[in-house]
């Protein structure tokens, strides 16, 4: 390392900037916990696979909403596109190999994301919100209309998925394969997103979110960047949808509805947006609470969720991770003074 570089990183701020992409020890924790879950709770692996798909879905939204600041309420459009791609390929026994199916799901979702992004991302604010909402509703109605192919409201049940690598079969009763397969897909996608975030491209997305005018002023191709980001985000959401269709062996219209779009929005903001791990924390907290509370006390769950969202919007703008970070900073500041 040259002398100039070492003096450049002497300043704590500069040091933080040059090292922030490096792997920290705690970044292995989610994966260790996920593997531990596999051995500790063999009865809950089906739920676990669902949770992993939700994490991936929230991660895809984080890229668009948390990093690029594209406020969308229609992200389920891409989840549904991916789910129906995998579902229809498997239901009509055209293509059942899981990994290539996922790639096809990503491709279909990316195409829809690219085409819609190309026109939608000209707008901002409420208009953009409405347009994403309408695009999703449009796709849902289209899936409903094409009843002959999509099964309409009842969806496509009993999807037959070929074994992963031709060896590991999807067993509907024991979700071991589904869980590990989902974990693998999530890991690959996460590494991709993490790399993207710390790349110059990712930095420019943050710039667009923070100060659109200035990014225009320094000559950044803002709209092209946004469209690319939206397309990638759509592809990841498509993979999440495909994963969920494979793990559950069915797909229906709920993959495309407002409930799902609102859920992933809530999950991300609950965990904390624009910070990679928010998707993990939010999905775990939300899904665990929903899984164990919602079935016993559905009304209380809805009330509690509503109160929680209002509290987060009013007091904790950065979700659970934001609260954790604030507490940690206060703690470490106190430790320094004493």
């Amino acid at each position: 390392m040259s002398a100039a570089a070492s003096t450049a990183t002497d300043h704590p701020g500069a040091f933080g900037l040059t090292t922030r992409h490096r792997l920290r020890w705690w970044e292995t924790l989610p994966w260790i916990i996920a593997l531990g879950f596999y051995f500790a709770f063999p009865d809950y692996l089906g739920f676990g696979a669902e949770l992993l798909a939700m994490i991936l879905f929230a991660l895809s939204l984080d890229l668009a909403l948390g990093y690029a600041g594209i406020i969308t309420l229609g992200h389920a459009a891409f989840f549904g596109a991916g789910a129906y791609t995998v579902g229809m390929l498997a239901f009509y026994e055209i293509w059942t190999e899981p990994i290539t199916s996922l790639l096809l799901a990503a491709l279909v979702a990316a195409i829809i994301g690219f085409l819609s992004g190309l026109v939608l991302l000209r707008t901002r604010g409420l208009t953009l919100l409405m347009l994403t909402l309408c695009t999703m509703a449009l796709l849902q109605e289209a899936a409903n209309m094409a009843r002959a192919y999509t099964g309409g409201f009842d969806g496509l049940p009993n999807l037959a998925i070929a074994p992963v690598f031709g060896v590991f079969e999807f067993n509907p009763l024991y979700a071991n394969t589904q869980y590990l397969y989902s974990l693998g897909v999530l890991l690959v996608c996460f590494v991709f997103v993490r790399t993207l975030i710390y790349s110059p491209f990712g930095q420019s997305l943050t710039g667009i979110r923070e100060n659109l005018l200035r990014m225009h002023a320094i000559g950044s191709p803002v709209r092209r960047r946004l469209v690319i980001c939206y397309t990638i985000s759509a592809a990841l959401a498509g993979i999440a949808g495909g994963l969920s269709a494979q793990a559950n062996a069915f797909v229906n219209l709920s993959a495309l509805d407002l409930d799902r779009a609102a859920t992933v929005f809530i999950v991300l903001i609950l965990g904390g947006y624009g910070r990679l791990y928010g998707a993990f924390v939010g999905a775990v907290v939300y899904m665990a609470l929903e899984h164990f509370l919602a079935k016993i006390y559905p009304t209380a769950w809805q009330l509690g969720l509503g109160l929680l969202l209002v509290m987060i919007a009013l007091f904790a703008r950065n979700g659970i991770l934001g609260i954790g970070e604030a507490l940690w900073q206060r703690y470490s500041a106190r430790r320094k003074t004493t």
Binding site: L73, T127, M130, F265, G306, L309
Partner: protein
């Protein structure tokens, strides 16, 4: 003759549905135009008002007019309380927080409705003079639909007159056009907003009650029709009552026709048209603000 009567029947059915949409959405348009606040919980206010109206008639045996008045006052009151305590903290927050906050409110209202009233759908008992058919000269039509259309027209007329002719209307127009300038001129935007918010929510409450006859009224109401309210507002244009009136009527007629002739998925055209229109005019049919 039969054909013309058919067309007239379809038009009237669509117009009455559109009228309800207008009464619910008009407040949303004005408050969004004034403050730029993305209030997804507006449908929840409509639901709240609907419950007050329907329950006060079914259980407390109020008259129709008295129930509507009570619905307006109760919804306006609860919205003012929420606005003063919670909404105002988020005026300067990002749209993200506003969306999150109002989604939270929707859930609270839905859960509240289930706990207090129960999950089953409530039915509106129309007063005897509004039941049955009325003779319009060239065809017989449902009295209630005609009543709705007339009421909606009067409300639209009243609001647009208030917008054009009254002091507070001028203040609202000024604030929608340029909020900072309006504030500099000494308009108390904060108070203006509270008043319009209360009025708009009260109107939504009335709309919830009037529409309960054919939209139904159950706890999921707040979420079920949200997209329609938002389409009416964004197509009509933020801060424009008349724009929302036209947009709602068009939407109502279109929806009625499509449901009649394309019962399976005809709404797809509504979404497609909305997307095209918003791409062509992001500010809506009669919105002035450049975004």
């Amino acid at each position: 003759m039969d054909f013309a009567a058919n067309i007239a029947g379809i038009l009237l059915g669509g117009l009455s549905a559109g009228t309800v949409l207008f009464i619910v959405s008009v407040g949303l348009s004005v408050t969004m135009g004034l403050m730029g606040f993305v209030n997804l919980a507006h449908g929840a206010f409509a639901m709240f008002g609907g419950y007050v109206i329907v329950l006060s008639m079914n259980r407390a045996h109020f008259g129709f007019a008295a129930a509507l008045a009570l619905g307006f006052v109760a919804t306006a009151a609860i919205s003012v309380v929420l606005e003063r305590t919670l909404y105002r903290r988020l005026y300067r927050a990002s749209e993200l927080d506003q969306v999150l906050f109002t989604i939270g409110l929707i859930f609270i209202f839905i859960a509240g409705a289930i706990i207090v009233v129960g999950p089953e759908s409530q039915t509106l008992q129309l007063p005897p003079e509004l039941r049955g058919q009325i003779n319009l000269g060239f065809l017989q039509y449902r009295t209630y639909s005609i009543f709705l259309i007339v009421i909606g027209f009067l409300i639209a007329l009243g609001i647009s007159l208030a917008f054009e002719r009254t002091r507070i209307g001028a203040q609202i127009r000024a604030t929608v056009d340029n909020r900072r300038m309006a504030e500099s001129l000494g308009i108390n935007v904060d108070r203006l907003f509270t008043i319009t918010f209360a009025f708009g929510s009260g109107m939504a409450g009335i709309g919830g009650g009037l529409g309960a006859e054919f939209l139904g009224l159950d706890p999921q109401y707040a979420l079920k029709y949200l997209v329609y309210f938002l389409i009416a507002v964004s197509v009509g244009g933020l801060g424009s009552a008349i724009g929302v009136y036209y947009a709602s009527l068009i939407l109502g007629v279109l929806d009625f026709v499509l449901k009649l002739y394309l019962p399976k998925g005809g709404t797809i055209f509504i979404y497609a048209l909305t997307i095209l229109l918003l791409l062509w005019r992001p500010q809506g049919l009669s919105g002035k603000k450049e975004t």
